[in-house]
């Protein structure tokens, strides 16, 4: 075990996979100087400018070129800088990358990873703060990953790069400096497998990405108040680990899904609806979702904070769900 940051973990994943497979390459703006957050720092020295490719500010072409390059015997890692800018390349991702294999009758595959740093990052305002993971889960052909820890960023990014279909890979900008233990040697985390971060019998908290950490903190606090929350980090949003979530809620009888994105039509709705459908008769309380209000993210800190799913909101919701009498 060694302790590295979430950012370093992502870089290590890219490095290891590029060492392992000469067809892997990365493309995006400013990569030669390490990328906007330093996620690629130093890689150009090891792999050269052809495999750590600087690009023009041409998101549509970055994505479209990756589709063509993935069809032609390489495995591109696309860097979108901020997930918000991926909106400039959505046709290429949704109408091309995601559909090509199916539409062309399985003649080829489109092995590409689209890294999209996502989420709120202090005072970045409405065009640099979005979380749109639920969009991608809605699109057939896409795998969707949202790691929350250094170990998962290492192990999932490696798995994503090895995956033969397009993966939307959402790293949370606020997590870049987060440190954590990662195993020595090869570390792969399988796609589609949730992690039970903490076990508990009273309540299941399903979450992913940065909100995992708020959930864990909330669970710690709840424990002191006699509520034992099981925290499940989905890690992969599509395919999501239904079995593990359903098994947990069968045990606890209560579900809260907590995520940073807007609650309305967020991916929490999919999970809540699935659980409500599958386990209606086992639920001790209604399924519940916590997400942002349906507002753009504001710039000023106090306004920005209005959109946050905080530890406190999670605690309050959990208490309301588990102790209806006390809470009312």
């Amino acid at each position: 075990m060694s302790v590295i940051s979430y950012l370093e973990a992502g870089k290590r994943a890219v490095r290891e996979e590029m060492q392992r497979d000469p067809t892997v390459w990365a493309l995006g703006e400013d990569l030669g100087r390490g990328g906007v957050f330093g996620q690629y720092k130093g890689l150009i020295d090891e792999f050269g400018p052809e495999r750590i490719a600087d690009t023009p500010i041409s998101e549509a072409c970055i994505m479209g070129a990756a589709v063509g390059a993935a069809m032609t015997g390489t495995r591109p890692i696309v860097e979108m800088r901020f997930s918000d800018f991926a909106l400039c390349a959505i046709d290429e991702l949704v109408n091309q990358a995601a559909k090509a294999r199916f539409m062309f009758g399985g003649q080829m595959r489109v092995p590409m990873v689209v890294r999209e740093p996502t989420g709120m990052w202090r005072s970045s305002a409405a065009q640099h703060s979005q979380s749109l993971e639920s969009w991608y889960t809605h699109i057939p052909g896409l795998v969707v990953v949202a790691p929350a820890t250094p170990a998962d960023n290492l192990g999932l990014l490696k798995s994503a790069i090895r995956n033969d279909d397009p993966v939307v890979y959402l790293e949370h900008k606020n997590l870049w400096p987060l440190e954590g233990e990662v195993p020595e040697g090869e570390h792969l985390v399988p796609l589609g497998e949730a992690q039970i971060v903490r076990t508990g019998r009273d309540l299941t908290l399903v979450t992913w990405s940065a909100t995992r950490h708020s959930c864990v903190a909330a669970a710690d606090a709840l424990e002191k108040q006699g509520i034992e929350a099981e925290v499940i980090d989905l890690r992969t949003l599509w395919p999501w680990d239904r079995d593990r979530v359903l098994a947990s809620v069968e045990k606890t009888g209560r579900l809260i899904v907590a995520h940073e994105a807007v609650a309305v039509s967020g991916f929490g709705a999919e999970i809540a609806a699935t659980v409500a459908e599958a386990l209606h008769h086992r639920l001790k309380a209604p399924v519940q979702r916590l997400g942002a209000p349906r507002i753009p993210i504001a710039y000023a800190p106090p306004l920005e904070d209005e959109a946050r799913v905080t530890e406190k909101k999670i605690i309050d919701a959990a208490k309301a769900l588990c102790l209806p009498v006390a809470a009312s």
């Binding site: 067809t23 390459w25 052809e50 495999r51 490719a53 690009t55 023009p56 041409s58 549509a60 072409c61 994505m63 479209g64 070129a65 990756a66 589709v67 063509g68 390059a69 993935a70 069809m71 032609t72 015997g73 390489t74 591109p76 046709d91 290429e92 109408n95 091309q96 090509a100 294999r101 199916f102 539409m103 062309f104 009758g105 399985g106 003649q107 080829m108 057939p140 052909g141 896409l142 795998v143 995956n163 033969d164 279909d165 397009p166 796609l191 589609g192 992969t236 599509w238 395919p239 699935t274 459908e277 599958a278």
Partner: protein, 340 residues
Amino acid sequence: MTIIQATLEGAGANLDTGRFTAMLDTMWRIRAFEELAVRSLDEKLVLGAIHPSIGQEACAAGICCNMEREDLLLSTHRGHGHTLAKGADALAMMRELFGRDGGTCGGKGGSMHIADFDVGMLGANGVVAANITIAAGAAHALKLRGEKRVVVCIFGDGAINRGPFLEGLNWAKVFDLPVLFVCEDNNFSATTHTAAMTAGPGAAARAQSLGLPAQTIDGNDVVAVDAATRNALAALHAGEGPQFLHCKTYRMTGHTAVDAAAYRDPAEVTRWRERDPITRLGEALRLAGVSEARLEEARTKAYAEMEEVYATARDTAWPDVAGAYRDVQDCGDPQVRPYS
């Protein structure tokens, strides 16, 4: 590098009759295939849209005959001709149009998404200009892999007004990629005269402003298309970077097979009908000494082949419905499963 200058009319008796008789065969095959594809609508064999390239066959034939099988081609919604010329199997294509088993894409793509990776045909595309960036990427991969193959990307005159045109050409030049871009200019974007929606001097000037050598040619002159393509591909192979061709042709049908195209000037249509690329090539071959019988054979063989293709495709079974769930992605179950 010597630049070949050649035109149908200029060739006269020196026309390479072997080469161009083969082109005539290709052009007739395309014409026959598409006429039957259009007919299939009446029989309700095709329920979706068909975009014929009737009148534009010289571009497909003149470009693709210069490509190796390993070279890569990307096309558009109007791609039957390019695909046939690149060597795809006509029966598999017709089956695809009819949504049948054994179609090029197993019936999942249809007319606008025919691809045949075995012959280097990386797909028609239903989104205007989307193939441009994909082509740049395919060429990027070839360069990274150190391959000698090249990519040809054909798109319409309407595509030059979409952003990917700029982004893709700029990209190809910046990374010095082996790709030939071809604007097959048939005057129309659906029901719109493209000229009215296109500012400035046009496709070639735009390409030049992005650093690509560009040439504008008569796209109904297969000899000119052939020569220009050879020049461009030679430049590509000589390491001169991405190239651009602007082929001026005319769409003899409506935008889709069911579009009567009443918005066109009949005089314009007549003028272009007189410049039909197949007729013109036939004339030139006749002048160069090819027999009437051989010329006629080009036509009759093509129709005979395609009639058989048509009949066989029509009698082919539907694909297995389980295919609707295959080749989506390996991760995750696409089926909706009830929980009750």
